[in-house]
Amino acid sequence: MIESNLPALQVVLPLVAAPLCVLLRRGSLAWLVTWSATWATAAISIAILLRVLDAGTISYTFGGWEPPWGIEYRVDIVNAFVLVLVSVIGAIIVPYARRSVGAEIRSEQHYLFWAAYLLCLTGLLGVAITGDAFNVFVFLEISSLATYILIACGQDRRALVASYQYLIMGTIGATFIVIGIGLLYLMTGTLNLADMAQRLSTMPLHRPQLAALAFLTVGISLKLALFPLHLWLPNAYAYAPSVSTAFLSATATKVAVYLLLRFSYSVFGQSHVIENISVEAVILALSVAAIFTASLVAIFQDDVKRMFAYSSVAQIGYITLGISLANQNGLTGGIVHMFNHAVAKGAIFMLLGCVALQIGQPLMAQMAGLAKRMPMTAAGLVVGGLSLIGVPGTVGFISKWYLVVAAIEKGWWWLAALVLISSMLAAIYVWRLIEVCYFREPSPELEAAGEAPLSMLIPAWVLVIGCIYFGLDATMTAGTAASAAQSLLEATR
């Protein structure tokens, strides 16, 4: 009974837990509910992934309505991978968050924060699991609305502006997506993604299809913060509470990337639209621009959270770069980098949360001498930073390996060189941080500070160790990503 309903439980569990948090009205009880709901969700997602690996695509129908009429949850290896990523990170953050949320958010708002957290998780999982286009939009809005709350909770008053700007941009993005979906519905008469793909493949080329693709691409690019539509991201990440930043940076953009994959490969993969135009060239150019511009900006930042936020824009560039290469290795690199970046950036932002707990907003000058006062935090930041550079033995190396191989396979030496040169830019901004943390005398703020509590360090270090473990043993991550890439490429003509 439970086993056959896993796909529904995946979304329903956090969805039901959210109002429960509101009803309980006690921060610690709400935290307990969140804790149990997220860990159960993570377990479910792993069970689903194992089943997909074992038995292939799962199709789950609601209320006995067969697809394409009813709403279908459809899990193949691509979204099973995303589900695991989102729910596992979501679960690891919760035990960490108790202290951090306690310090950064007013106590009477705690239960609301946890409700928003669960709703955001629900939305992200829903987008990833559903096989229905309109459902995608609904869940996207659920997650976005919750995200605005998560960001606005920040202590810094600039968080409100950041949240407001993201609200405007996110709403425009969602509108574009719904316009795109609407156009597709007009053309095909169906909302089921698989059905839609099949109908598009037999239809002649009409202009509304092109318009739909344009609206979807721009809307999704906004959500995933592809250059130059990334402008909402740096402030949102910098001024949000540490927990929100860690969670959003690791998951929200990745789900948007999944949508891009789903629409450009699965839905439009066999249509005549893709045959006639090259979406790839545009995204490729934007990705390279993102990598270089955002890395350069990151070098000059003094707010460490903002620096890593720009670094996120650059890293998302690597993901979309892999997608735009559109061959087996490139796509594998892009997909595996979703995971790798989530682990590395999640770890970094969690550790910055540890710093924030002790000294407030982490600025470069105030983090001077961090290694002397908070050695574990500083060491974790170094490992995370090395992953961003792509040093062998860390996760970043795996992703860049695939990307460079893919570029060489295409004969694009310049691109391989650009990817590797961009690692040097990452080396510069990571180096700035290492220099400040290790070679300066402790700042006055840090003078009295000690190491962060274990309840925060342990979850953060789980991800730090993940950075190294998955850099050495990539069979699980890269293997799953490779079969996901294969299944996506098979769906195209």
Binding site: V161, Y164, Q165, I168, M169, I172, G173, F176, R207, L210, A211, L213, A214, F215, T217, V218, S221, L222, P228, L229, L231, W232, P234, N235, N276, I277, S278, V282, T293, L296, V297, I299, F300, Q301, D302, Y310, L386, V391, P392, G393, I398, W401, Y402, V404, V405, I408, E409, A416, A417, L420, S423, M424, A427, W431, F439, D473, A474, T475, A478, A482
Partner: protein
Amino acid sequence: MTEWTSPALILLAAAILIGLTRGHLRSAVILVAPLLTLWAIWQVPDGVVGTVRFLDYAIEPVEGSPLRRLFATIFSIMAFTGGLFAFRHARWYELSAAFAYASGAVGVCFAGDLITLFLFWELMALFSTVIVWCGGTPAARKAGIRYAMMHLLGGVILKVGIEGVVVHTGSIDIQPLLATNFDTWMILVGILINAAAPPVSAWLADAYPESSPTGSVFLSAFTTKTAVLALILLFPGEPVLIGVGLYMVMYGIIYALLENDARRILAYSIVNQVGFMVCAVGIGTQMALNGAAAHAFAHIIYKALLFMSAGVVVYRTGKNKCSDLGGLFRTMPLTTICGIVGALSISSFPLTSGFVTKTLISQAAIDQGLVVVYFLLAAASAGVFLHAGIKFPWFVFFQKDSGLRPKDAPWNMAAAMVLFSALCILMGAFPEAFYRLLPYPVDYHAYSPGKVLFYLQLLLFSGLAFFVMLPWLKRTPTISLDTDWLYRVALKKAFSVLADLLGSAQERAQRSVQKLLQTALARIQRHHGPEGVLARTWPTGSMVLWVAIMLASYLILYYLL
């Protein structure tokens, strides 16, 4: 599970344990782990031991062969002796980094494929940088950054080459290559950067002397010699290497003669000695490869010995410069004797290890009919005696009396030096036993009367030359310019120098070029800096404008196509 466990992992585990333990337990880890590694190295059978899937490739983390074992053996002996030398004086993170660095070197020795090689290669780069930083001075930190940048660049070049080879041949095996296309050239260049080949030889003499007295002992051993091993495995008989090697030999001698810093003299002499090995790999016959491997083995021992004696001097006196030192033999007899044994070995004096290994290379050159190479190497041997054999001990331990009366080496440093001195002499006295370890069968006798006489004459005459020319060789506190000056100072100064030379017409050009550079930098600052257009917070309206622009361009693009 265990069959593919590289012996390198023992040292890596030890590196972590050093961080976790304290006191006697830590000392025990430092001394026992290298010996355990040595034991594990001799358990590795010939051939590929096992494969692991990594990405889509069959990785061979452990592949044994006599050559690989030879290098791994000396690396683990080095880790032991270095640990013995350092464990009471170095800070724990320097020791931990040194062991991780050694683990990288041992890992490269057994790497059966290019990917494993690259993994351990970068491990070495990472932790050797940490060791340079452990020098603790502002100069060490800056040298560390230059060192890191150079090795990052080398790593990137090597990675491009490896990935190119993987994509184009489909094979990740380590097998002899020739530099014929872009991929293989990139690999060769990447390795040569680590071997301190021209034009970037300067990184070595720039960074090593800035490290701590204990750190430089570790640094002297691993990076360049793993590069030699990689060259033997990947590019035996690559003709380019003969020229590269000869250049390095000459470069090392000239700069070492001009140098005043005791440890920098030794650092330049590493380049010189690695030049001999690179040249031998270029010759590429079995005898030459034997010579390269044997010389690397002997070189690690005597160069570490020299760095140890210099390290003891720096540790006891706090002075680096030859012009500040002198007359130390009175109170540091043991350090003096060990330094002299090392100096004689590097000059390949008969009955020392250098003699039985370097002559292998010379013989290989003669056998191949490379007469010019032979005579250049012979001349270089005389030069080595000048700069390292006499100059180093003479200026540091004898010469004038500097008035310094430091104590002799602490017991553990003394033990490490005595151990390596004994090895130098044992290898020199009983070469046959050592030759049996070499990768190819050796049919060569080091001690033929003619050869011994030839080398004695060579050494005695260059020794004579040294004392005749002593007034010119007296070191003053000068700085020798090197190619690193090009990227350290010249970029800044080139324009002003030009202007001085060529007058006011150039001055204007210089100003405009400087202005151009400044504007370029300022432009990057302006666009990317904290208040730059790309970094500042945008009004919401402008963000939305961008969305509209993107949508419009997508639509137009799609409609056009």
